[in-house]
Amino acid sequence: MELVAIEILNGIVLGVIYALVAAGLTLIFGMLDIPNFAHGSFYALGAYVAYTAMTHANFPLALVAAPLAVGTLGLIVDALFIRRLARAGHTYQILFTLGIVLIVQEAIVLIWGADPTSVDVPAALSGGIALGPISFPYYRLFLVAVAAVLIAAVWLGLERTKLGAIIRAGIEDSEMVEAIGYDIQRLFTLVFALGVALAAIAGALILPIRGGQPAMGNELNAISFVVVVIGGLGSYAGAVVGGILVGLVQSLMTLILPSASEVAIFAAMVLVLLLRPQGLFGTR
């Protein structure tokens, strides 16, 4: 029973990370309609930028530096290249972002080396809280709280602010919004950067738990697509619930059949696809 409780908690930790990355992908892929294949790469870059910040400075700085640096990179990549490819169609956007995957993975090896890296949990967050017979690390609690706040803040920003309303209107009819006088393309680039920044901060948050390795983005890339398929393309709530579901399934599977935990989540995706192709929360 304690094992189940521990795995549920671990599943939630993993799940909010997936939710964070998938929420970013939903902004970019679901809302802006840009199939960003390099989303996992930005997550990996976030982890490595955080690694440098944590080894040379401190943890709070890492949590700011990772999304800021990687988000800026996303801003540049979108403004210079991806937006220009919009007219060529989805295929070429996917292909271009695939090129970014290659470049980022090898750049990480070049800059930080091919060996896995690891950092300690920040001293202020070491130790754990006693929950009955089990102990839950403070750092994981902190991670869940930060992720939850970020997910809620982005949702509120989109749904409850004027800027969010302009962006949503732009997604519905960009020409009309431009006619009113807003530079919608610039706003879209900002949304792209925000989505990338969410992936980057997820990478920074997971670093003290899982460490970093150059190919870490590929795994998360696949998982975030699974989450988006399960949750429903374009649905922010779907990304969040789907992320947590996938994290729980993967974590609980380690109790039943550890070797099948990855297979299980892809099998779950196939099931959703067969029974409800539009995803749990999707409308299309």
Binding site: T91, A222, S259, A260, V263, L273
Partner: protein
């Protein structure tokens, strides 16, 4: 339109025949031919149908493991039987993956081919009793062909070359057939093709299945080349490399795949010895091709020969 120009195919036959006399590295050349098959299978989907498949390694892996397991566990399997089994397994896998992926529309379907590739990878990784997991499947024998030993690398090169030319010629005929014309109609305007009365979904899944069969044959040839099946045959890097080869050569012509595979194989062989981080250059080269040379390298050939009618590279996703 390609069979109508037998010259190009004859040039290919001649090049394949004399290649070992110029490049004294038959294993590398054999590998280039195998990559050529994989890229041609990929280009059938992207070039003709306009569908970007991100999971081609799935079918390559199915073929490699099917032929590998057969040759490891069963004595005296004829080499053509091994290739046939690999083709059937590749086709079967592609039929399932294609039918399920096409449930989604547009980019969604592309993502699904990718997700199925991941599923196949983790299955191959975890079923280590069957596949050897990350140690690979060892002890794949290379049978002889109607009494001719293929143990020598040159002999095996010419065997793979024959298989390659037969399969590639079949693909050319297919592209030129009414079936191929329907694929291009779907690429240009799927709703219209459906309105004319074609069951477009069936055509798409059939094209996918054929592409899987060709990829399966390539996987089997690969397993027999090295005498073992590494886990890499089914991983995402292999799928990525197939995409790169297809795009590098150009999707506007079936020959583009062969050009792309040849360039990729030679480049990766030379550059990986010069600089360990050459994938960085490959990524930059690839992004440049996507941004500026959508027709791939073969587009340059067409630009130099303005008399040949040029086919536009597809701009839409499937």
């Amino acid at each position: 339109m390609n069979v109508a120009r037998p010259g190009a195919f004859l040039v290919l036959v001649a090049l394949v025949a004399v290649a070992p006399l110029v490049v004294h590295y038959p294993v590398l050349l054999t590998q280039a031919l195998i990559f050529g098959l994989l890229a041609a299978a990929f280009n059938l989907l992207l070039g003709e149908l306009g569908f970007l498949s991100f999971g081609q390694a799935t079918f390559n892996g199915l073929g490699a493991y099917a032929a590998g397991l057969l040759l490891v566990h069963v004595a005296h399997v004829p080499i053509l039987v091994a290739l046939l089994v690999a083709a059937l397994c590749g086709a079967g896998g592609a039929l399932v993956v294609g039918a399920l992926s096409m449930q989604g529309a547009g980019v969604y379907a592309v993502m699904l081919t990718f997700a199925f590739n991941e599923l196949a990878f983790y299955l191959a990784f975890q079923l280590r009793d069957l596949t050897g997991g990350d140690n690979g499947l060892r002890g794949v024998v290379r049978p002889e062909f109607i009494g001719i030993s293929l143990a020598g690398e040159n002999a095996y090169y010419y065997f793979v070359a024959a298989v390659f030319l037969v399969v590639f010629y079949a693909l050319l005929r297919l592209i030129d057939s009414p079936f191929g014309h329907v694929l291009r109609a779907i690429r240009e305007n799927e709703p219209r093709a459906r309105a004319i009365g074609y069951d477009t979904r069936r055509f798409k899944v059939t094209a996918f299945t054929i592409s899987g069969a060709v990829s399966g044959i390539a996987g089997a040839a690969y397993a027999m080349l090295y005498g073992f099946v590494p886990l890499e045959v089914v991983n995402f890097d292999t799928s990525t490399n197939i995409v790169i080869m297809g795009l590098l050569g150009g999707t506007g012509s079936p020959y583009g795949a062969i050009v792309g595979a040849a360039i990729f194989t030679l480049l990766s062989d030379r550059l990986s010895r010069l600089w360990a981080h050459w994938p960085l250059l490959l990524g930059i080269l690839f992004c440049t091709v996507v941004l500026t040379l959508r027709g791939g390298v073969i587009e340059i050939v067409h630009r130099l020969r303005p008399s040949t009618p040029r086919r536009k590279a597809p701009l839409r996703s499937g």
